[in-house]
Amino acid sequence: MNLDLDISAGSPSPIFRQIVEQVRTAVMTGKLAEGDQLPSVRGLAERLLVNPNTVARAYGELTRDGLIDGQPGRGVFISKPRQMYTKAERQRRIGPLVDALVHEGLWLGFSADELIESLSQKLDKAANHDTSRRKST
């Protein structure tokens, strides 16, 4: 398991949310794939030095989102990817990130074409990664 979480206290983002987001990112970037095992709630709490309830809450949210799956007696695993949000909900979630990309990109002096170009490169890479991962499983 190559999960390297790094949480920090004192951030506006609560610790449980930092865990949720980092696991999500690890799945999106392919660091974690279907069937990979995550540490137990207690194991992760002791490694990160946070209250176990905080980890349990993060795992709860990841389970509801369909990213992980707790198997009683065996552990917590990354589940098979599936889409569980409505289109509206997905748009609500992606909106602020697109805003941030556009603002930051324009502020840094990129043209619209350059931004689209770098976005499509990333998307190609992610698509390739996704197909190779599916082949291997």
Binding site: G10, L49, N51
Partner: protein
Amino acid sequence: MSNLVIETSGLTRYFGRKCAVDQVTMSVPRGAVFALLGRNGSGKSTIVRMLLGLLEPTRGSASVLGEDCQRLSPATRGRIAYVAEGHPLIDWMRVGQLEDFQKSFYPDWDGHLFAKVVEHFDLNIQARAGHLSRGQRAGLSLALALAARPELLIMDDPALGLDPVARRTLLETMILMTRDAGHTIFFTSHVLDDVERVADHVAIIDRSILRVSCPVETFHARVKAVVLEFAGPPPQMPKLPGLLESRRTANQVRLIIANFGPDAERIIASLGAMSVNEAALSLEDAVIAYLGRRGEQTSLLSDIKEIGVAK
């Protein structure tokens, strides 16, 4: 067995004419890591001492583990460990003697755990308590509390004066204690980063009055910063429900609001701001907003333009 380990009702304490604790009603659920926050002199230690039966309430009541704090039986007291502020120890005793002394009060004494914690703080079993560094004293008083395997651990500002390494070990010992299902920690602290890591419930006492008592995540979710941007100087802010703090700059007002809801939202929308942005706050900023002065704020830094001018 009740699910509440600590319950207070209208708990009040006067020292002479000064009210130190004013009608505090709160409850601590079993298994919680409960942090009581507040400024120095706000009444935290007075609450702790009343919970342990060391101080009589002027009015109201408090119970721990289902027993009135004023009449704790030795058996119940044996299920509670207490780490007092400043880690006081009997200075002429050696580490080993202190263990024997403490052990006599606690039937479930865990000598192995004591040895481990003591080792972690580099303590020599032969050393006299009076010769220990501050960090070592903290380590020893933690070891004495943890090895009792208490159902309820009460700590008054255990992080006070600890260096970062000792503080980290304190954090580890608190996480360690959560391994015992159903064991509860009630502590006071000023180190909010550590509180955020280890606590799942938070209470805030401000000038003797309890202002907040809820799960940490609820607190985090309810206190929000709202930044209003105006074309010119911002208008006078109307009365807003839940307003904790407002700071203005040339064309912005930054509000910190508790329980930000439809009422406040409607009032803010009527102010004609160019943009209204909601932002999350760190636990520290949210707590400071509660403990600071109410209403319109200036910081010390903006109050003082130049140092050393007015002589």
